[in-house]
């Protein structure tokens, strides 16, 4: 078996410098995660605890099987916006009673768990992951409904959440709501559309209209318990299937429900035994540069994430800007496409197209390791049909049926982002390393292009070009694009499913692969493989 070599000099000054730079980025990432975990802040958390209530992550920890991993999704959603980091909701994938489930938990310490536009988007993404991967959904509900000041951005699109709940049900993907507190007005349909509903006695309140609204609407005087208390719903309306005595009991019942779902994964199970990579994944910190101009060999990454560091490279001598080949990750077969030297040429695109077809023939999931500045430009390349080559690759990616997983390791620019299965190409999961960036092009290039265009326009009009203004414009644009290319900016807008510490890459991909195998893995068939 071809085993990738260890080529890392751990004492080299540039290795150590890269390591230090990346650790700095990771420290910043950790600080942002801590802010997300802090939710509505100390006072709000203390008040919540005083009421005998658990925080969303405390509820999740209790729900999960002891010692089982948990992958939190989009934890830094809404970073850099006026909303609290995290979007007032926690989503993630964990294991309950041996079953992989998607968990969503409102954070009632953040504006009472009200859903803002970012949180709505985050929940939408989580919901999509559940649907695509056939994951049962456990909703830990405690939310005051829509964040009213931003209702215009939520109300109309927000209906999709309820639609998706029942569509999941129609697809035999179970949905479970554990209601810990308020779940009112539109929010009432979260439990309402779920297959199973547990409500906490004395705490859960599920009604369309609260006492003031009812009084205004009909003149009727009724208290909250009468309108939507857990006991009322368990004994009278029948909306609640289970009445829990407290939060722990609700979580116990939630686990009990999952235990009896009779779920079976439809994909092939992973190899029962496999080797860990031969080299320490910690090395990635010194391998991966934070300066995107500095190239690195993705084989050094593969050597640290693939089982036994084994990688069977496909077409190693052709289209060498892109590395393709087969390996195994946590027992699952995987095909890899990894940028080796930034630019994609026609040969690389053809190789990618062929490789994607091969993986589909063999029902092998694909991993895209992005580090691309885009497809090659220039007269020679245009004339030789770089657009056709790129189109072939984008065509293959778009119509491939095996699960795709994308990791942005550094650069993801231009149409390279599309060909390498960017967000718009619906990979099952897309993760980003903290050093990574993505934009239509590099900031300097973009500013330069604007400058050239501006200068040409001025010349055409016969006007003098304001060099000082041009300088200021270039700087401003460059700064703006630089800021908007950063991993934190991208993750805040749900352009990925989370920033990943490079040292967690193997674990995260292991979870992603396992999750994808809840469905059968089946490639697209119909034509013979086109040799490009």
């Amino acid at each position: 078996m071809p085993v990738l070599p260890d080529r890392v000099d751990r004492d080299a000054p540039d290795y150590l410098a890269r390591r230090e730079a990346l650790l700095e980025l990771l420290a910043e990432h950790d600080r942002q995660l801590a802010l997300a975990t802090a939710g509505g802040g100390e006072r709000s958390v203390a008040r919540h605890h005083e009421r005998g209530k658990l925080l969303p992550r405390e509820r999740i920890e209790l729900l999960l099987d002891p010692d089982a991993p948990f992958l939190e999704l989009s934890p830094l959603c809404a970073w850099g916006t006026s909303f609290t980091i995290g979007g007032s909701v926690v989503t993630g994938i964990g294991v309950v009673e041996g079953t992989e489930v998607l968990v969503q938990a409102h954070d009632p310490t953040v504006r009472g768990g009200a859903v803002n536009p970012y949180g709505a988007k985050k929940q939408g993404r989580a919901s999509q992951i559940a649907s695509e991967n056939r994951l049962p959904v456990v909703n830990l509900v405690e939310s005051g409904g829509a964040d009213l000041p931003t209702q215009s951005e939520i109300f109309i699109p927000g209906g999709a959440g309820f639609r998706d709940l029942t569509r999941k049900s129609a697809a035999a993907i179970p949905t479970i709501a554990l209601v810990f507190g308020n779940s009112t007005a539109g929010g009432a349909y979260v439990p309402g559309m779920s297959d199973y509903i547990v409500m906490v006695e004395g705490r859960a309140k599920v009604f369309l209209g609260g006492p003031p609204l009812v009084k205004m609407a009909t003149g009727e005087v009724a208290d909250e318990e009468e309108l939507g208390g857990a006991e009322m719903h368990a004994r009278v309306s029948g909306l609640a299937d289970y009445l829990a005595v407290d939060e722990y009991d609700a979580i116990r019942l939630g686990r009990q429900i999952v235990r009896r779902l009779n779920r079976e994964k439809l994909g092939r199970p992973p190899a029962s035994s496999y080797s860990e990579p031969l080299y320490d994944i910690d090395d990635l910190l010194g391998i991966v540069p934070t300066d995107l101009r500095e190239p690195f060999d993705p084989r050094d990454v593969l050597a640290r994430i693939l089982d036994g560091s084994e990688f069977d490279e496909f077409k190693p001598l052709y289209g060498t800007s892109l590395v393709t080949g087969f390996g195994q990750l946590h027992g699952y077969p995987i095909g890899v496409l990894a940028n080796a030297r930034g630019v994609l040429f026609a040969e690389d695109s053809e190789k990618a197209t062929q490789f994607i077809q091969l993986a589909n023939q063999s029902d092998i999931p694909l991993l895209f390791l992005q580090n691309t500045t885009g497809y090659m430009v220039g007269k020679e390349y245009e004339q030789r049909g770089i657009i056709k080559a790129g189109a072939q690759m984008i065509n293959a990616v778009s119509n491939s049926d095996v699960p795709h997983f994308t990791l942005n390791m550094g650069a993801s620019y231009g149409a390279g982002n599309y060909g390498m299965c960017g967000r718009a190409y619906d990979p099952r999961f897309l993760f980003t390393w903290p050093n990574a960036k993505s934009a239509v092009m590099g900031p300097a290039q973009l500013a330069g292009v604007l400058s050239i265009v501006g200068r040409a326009s001025a010349e055409a009009k016969g006007q003098p070009y304001d060099e000082a203004a041009d300088q200021a414009m270039r700087e401003m644009v460059e700064n703006q694009i630089e800021a908007e290319s950063k991993a934190l900016f991208l993750t805040a807008r749900l352009y990925d499913d989370g920033i990943v510490d490079p040292r967690d890459t193997r674990t995260v991909l292991g979870i992603a692969l396992s999750v994808a195998h809840n469905n059968p893995v089946q490639g697209r068939r119909g034509y013979g493989v086109f040799r490009m």
Binding site: P75, V95, E100, V245
Partner: protein
Amino acid sequence: MSPIRRILVANRGEIARRVFRTAREMGIATVAVYSDADAELPFVREADVAVRLPGNTPGETYLRGDLIVAAATASGADAVHPGYGFLSENAEFARQVAAAGLTWIGPPADAIEAMGSKLGAKQLMRDAGVPTLPWSETVEGAAAIGFPLLVKASAGGGGRGMRIVREPSELAEAVEGASREAAGAFGDATVFCERYLEAPRHIEVQVFADSHGNVVSLFERECSIQRRHQKIVEEAPSPAVTPELRASLGEAAVAAARAVGYLGAGTVEFVMAPDSSYAFLEMNTRLQVEHPVTELVTGLDLVRLQILVAAGEPLPARALSPSIDGHAIEVRLYAEDPTNEFLPATGTLRSFELPAGVRVDSGFESGSVVSPYYDAMLAKVIAHAPSRTEASARLGSALRRARIHGVTTNRDLLVRILAESEFLEGATDTAYLDRHAPAELGAPLVAGPDLRRHAAVAALTLQLVNRGEAKVWSRLPSGWRNNPSSMQQVSLDDGTGEVVVRYLIGRDGGIDLTVGDEPVAVDMHGAEGSVVDATVDGLRFRSSVVVSPDRSLIDVDSPLGSSSYRIRPRFVDPADQVAAGSLIAPMPGSVVRVLVEAGAAVTKGQPLVVLEAMKMEHTVASPAAGIASEVRVGAGQQVIAGAVLVVVDSGEASEPEPT
């Protein structure tokens, strides 16, 4: 006499196995009798054939002489060995056995009877020249002996009908009370008073007599360390007996045996004062529990000698000129809680393994159930070594390394006694456990930093099991989080209290761990099967860690000691919760008396229910003042451990209290 070919043992547990072992060695077939509760115990399996005695209580089973004789006849046995306890000193049974044409492996019924009456035996001994304590059957005579005095029932046993009197003014009332109690308990009101020695040594002499006129002393045993009049540490020879004294004791014991025309194995018990003067206490007309120490120092098989004598053979030459080789110490490992007045314990022995290098006479094995119906002795563990010091060390070490889980035992008490300085000096007497509080000696051996070490190992092993048995993601890092917000935690209850272990396993395998609030440095080196190799708090050691299949219990054994943990479930089904103020049966047993009526007001500490289990009465008292809102049991009712007996409503919510 015809040779013995098939022996029925009219007993259970370890003594049945003990007799079977020798019988097998002698080529003799074996028959067991067993109660329903004992059906799965090893002695039933090890017998060639076994006969069921329906029921559980001794009265229904092992005390049913008629059923046992019928079993012997039905199974083709030609001899009956009574073991100890039950019918072993029942002259009537000995006669039944003989009448059925079976050989009785024990002394003549007349000798049993003669020694059965305490008063008669004392008279007999005095006449035979054996030293006795002065006694009197009258109040006046007793007063003349001097105080303190012990009032005893002649037909008594087991401490019933006994009273210690220190003041002349109390004497008359004590005699009257003891007499009344004796009449009730034994149907014989005869009592007598004898001098009471405050803290004597208990010295006993093993005697053997054959039908050829030989009576021999196999030397003394000392059994001074006792709890509730029951021996727990026994040894041979006694550290307080000189060769001269040994000869004198031997002569007295042989004289006692001759006086009753004794045959077979018997034990003459003496009390010995600090000045080495001794006096006859009683004679046990059977094989003693503690016979192994004599076997080990003399190299004789006493059961074999019993069988030979019963078959009419003479005692072999080695028995007739015995000698002492080294020192042997036996401890009785009991299922009981020394820290709680030796309350008997029951349950399933999840594991019961003793290391090699010691003799273990036991009726139990891993998986056995200790029932509430019989004596709670799990095993006799005996060490033999050239010196007393070495024997204590070897025995202590074996007990320390034993793997015993599932049932509370006195193991830790025994280990501490064997290392205690007064014991090591040989300064033992029957007041030993009055001077050395059992609650302290019996406290868990694993303490202080070792408690934390075991808790850490238990939690991390549970974590390994959780990961190993996971249906998905089992090879992914344990407890991994991309956004860690808390540590994994498990709450462990070792019976003395609950401790929460929190841990976080880093991506490089580094472990952050706290036990309670104390951080503990841990490094896991590996785990193979149930053996875990870890450095905890600076010490590297290997532990055997067994997690029960339902992951509710963890047993840890290491060179530091043993710990058993109940894993507190993360969730409790409200349906399983008992009402606040519920008083729970601490062990299975029967309700003797209910002392309260539903609705009655009760005070804190007021006795509410009396349970009887394992021959002991246990009073369940109210934990607080309030109203007995529910009384759920009645007199005579059998209850299981954990059953709710009474609910006391104290007007404030409180946790259910185990009594």
